[in-house]
């Protein structure tokens, strides 16, 4: 690749999300969107125009929002609950546990702008605990798409399952990382690169950074396998065990706390099956002020940080 090549085009996944949701809603009148005054931030303006009755905006009231979704599911609808991830998961956690998961309803919770997407708005608006929280709830599926194509696939998959799901829908712009012609397979890790020295296990916006890190490592003679884990629950344990066995070292990368999210899920699998040295990269504390990109660098969640973690493992 020429060093003068342009940076790849990047995308806000919310656009792909709402286009797919609208297409699904056209085909299936059971699909409704529920939101908390988040029509704009969830990119639902077009949906609202096209399906005015099927966008249920309950105002700034997240507990009610999730309860209302359960009632809609009881009445035969398929609710996509769209709200900023920190408030959806934090404010309505008990409703997610009881009304969604324990009831066993087919409800798709869409945590918009997760991680540190809200950058300088600060830790109140960051959703870095959601993967730990939701992963701890029985019967919840957790899926984090990495790019627009995967977002479309995941939304389509979530509409046709019959189980409660939590999706993270990113607003931080990401390049396409999914190879042409490859579609999302629920519960399966997607191997984007092969390598034998280390495996980089990444999710969401961190996948493109893992690929960048793999390029940097490759230039230095270290070959890294890269796995895109979109489905965090249930985890593709087979792919993780294979990676541990084949490469002997694992680095996990997520825009979240590592105390229960992807890193923890991978570590639990590794320690039970093939204990190998690991590094878990994530958000290690309440973030200082700054834009998302700055914060990724701050927490070592960029290519350079990933390379550092790999070097630690190799020495």
């Amino acid at each position: 690749m020429s060093s003068t090549s342009l940076a790849p085009e990047t995308f806000d996944c919310r656009q792909a999300f709402v286009e797919e949701l609208s297409a699904l809603a056209r085909a299936d009148e059971r699909i409704v969107a529920v939101c908390n005054d988040s029509v704009g931030s969830s990119n639902l303006v077009g949906f609202a125009r096209e399906f005015p009755d099927r966008l249920i905006n309950v105002g700034i009231a997240e507990q009610n929002m999730v309860g209302v979704a359960a009632g809609l599911a009881n009445g035969g609808y398929i609710p996509f609950v769209c709200a900023a991830a920190p408030f959806l998961t934090g404010r309505a956690l008990e409703q997610i546990k009881t009304d969604v998961a324990y009831n066993g309803y087919h409800i798709v919770l869409c945590g918009m702008s997760p991680g540190m997407a809200y950058g300088e708005l600060g830790p109140t608006h960051h959703s870095i605990e959601d993967l730990s929280w939701i992963r701890a709830i029985a019967d919840m599926i957790v899926v984090v798409p990495a790019d627009p194509q995967q977002t479309r696939d995941v939304v389509r998959w979530a509409a046709q399952t019959d189980r409660p799901c939590y999706l993270r829908i990113g607003r931080v712009k990401v390049p396409n990382v999914t190879p042409d012609g490859v579609t999302f397979e629920f519960g399966k890790a997607l191997q984007l690169r092969d390598g034998s020295d280390v495996t980089l296990v990444a999710t969401g916006v961190m996948v493109s950074r893992a690929l960048e890190a793999a390029d940097l490592l490759g230039a230095a003679g270290v070959t890294a396998r890269v796995l895109n884990i979109a489905t965090i629950v249930p985890l593709d344990e087979e792919a993780i065990v294979r990676a541990a066995r084949d490469t002997g070292r694992i680095v996990t990368i997520e825009e979240a706390r590592t105390t229960g999210g992807l890193g923890a899920a991978v570590a639990e699998t590794v320690v039970r099956n093939v204990p190998v040295p690991m590094r878990m990269l994530g958000v290690t504390g309440f973030a200082p002020t700054g834009k998302a990109e700055f914060l990724y660098e701050h927490f070592g969640l960029d290519a350079a940080g990933i390379v550092r973690a790999v070097r630690e493992l190799l020495t």
């Binding site: 409704v32 009755d53 099927r54 249920i56 309950v58 105002g59 009231a61 507990q63 009610n64 929002m65 999730v66 309860g67 209302v68 979704a69 359960a70 009632g71 809609l72 599911a73 009881n74 009445g75 035969g76 609808y77 609710p79 008990e94 409703q95 009881t98 009304d99 324990y102 009831n103 066993g104």
Partner: protein
């Protein structure tokens, strides 16, 4: 199984039928609490006449087809009074009466709080307070979207109204004029350890609901005619709140209005005395 709802029934006949059904349910409650040595007997007995009137006078359902799409939805938000609900569902034919003695036993479908995935007739899992009304609001929105005629009923405890989620839901229901939604407050004036008014006062309760856009009626929650009148007709353009003034432990003189009977377990002798009183 109790006789089904009859539209041509005279009030006196209905009263007689509901009285008998409630007597049966109270007997089941006391027997079940006695067997399990667990339960919330005070609240079970305060909500009994409300459940009786709804299930044997007002609600449209088919116990043999619990998921009938056009059924009325009933949600017991005060899920800790599950024994009253199970006893009612048994009399209505959703579950066999023979299941009641298994309440709270290992692996029984009859958990301390109701689980829709195990018990037909349960619409939504409750237990933590403040969950039923938001779900009921969602049900009422679903009925409106589907242009369906079914109605939604949510029974709330009064202490439960201290949970803010109820008022989020009340505001949404008022705003949306959800006239197919009826909330019934089991106003027994006691919460777990004290009077509601001494803990975190609810009054003026009717004014609160009215100010959130609801029609409100206040009735004697043990009067079948009043309960029937307040719940059988759907609201005009607003959701309806029925404040049902009740007595915790209703029907058992030594339990009535006693705060200690929130979840105290009666002794075998007390159960026997209570059953004798109910039979009268």
């Amino acid at each position: 199984m109790a006789e089904p709802l009859r539209s041509d029934e005279q009030p006196a006949q209905r009263r007689l039928r509901l009285t008998e059904a409630a007597r049966h349910i109270r007997r089941s409650i006391l027997t079940t609490v006695g067997t399990a040595k667990l339960g919330h007997v005070g609240g079970d007995l305060s909500v009994t006449d409300i459940l009786t009137t709804l299930f044997f006078g007002v609600l449209r359902y088919d116990a043999a087809f619990p998921k009938w799409p056009d059924r009325d939805r009933f949600i017991l938000s005060k899920g800790h009074c599950s024994i009253a609900l199970y006893s009612t569902l048994a009399l209505a034919g959703f579950i066999p009466e023979s299941l009641l003695p298994s309440f709270a036993a290992p692996l029984s479908p009859l958990n301390g709080h109701p689980n829709r995935r195990k018990v037909p007739g349960v619409e939504s899992n409750t237990g933590p307070l403040g969950h039923g009304l938001p779900v009921g609001v969602g049900c009422a929105i679903a009925a409106r979207l589907a242009r369906a005629q079914w109605r939604t009923f949510v029974v709330l405890g009064d202490g439960e109204l201290q949970e803010g989620s109820n008022w989020e839901a009340a505001m949404a229901a008022g705003h949306r004029h959800l006239s197919s939604l009826t909330a019934i407050v089991d106003r027994n004036r006691l919460q777990q350890g004290a009077k509601t008014e001494d803990t975190n006062a609810l009054e003026p309760l009717a004014d609160k609901w009215r100010s959130f856009g609801w029609d409100v009626v206040e009735i004697d929650g043990h009067d079948y005619d009043a309960l029937y009148a307040a719940t059988s007709a759907r609201g005009s353009t607003k959701p309806r709140c029925v404040i049902a003034n009740t007595h915790k432990g209703r029907g058992v003189s030594f339990m009535e209005d006693g705060v200690e009977w929130h979840h105290k377990v009666p002794s075998p002798a007390q159960i026997e005395a209570a059953l004798a009183e109910i039979a009268r």
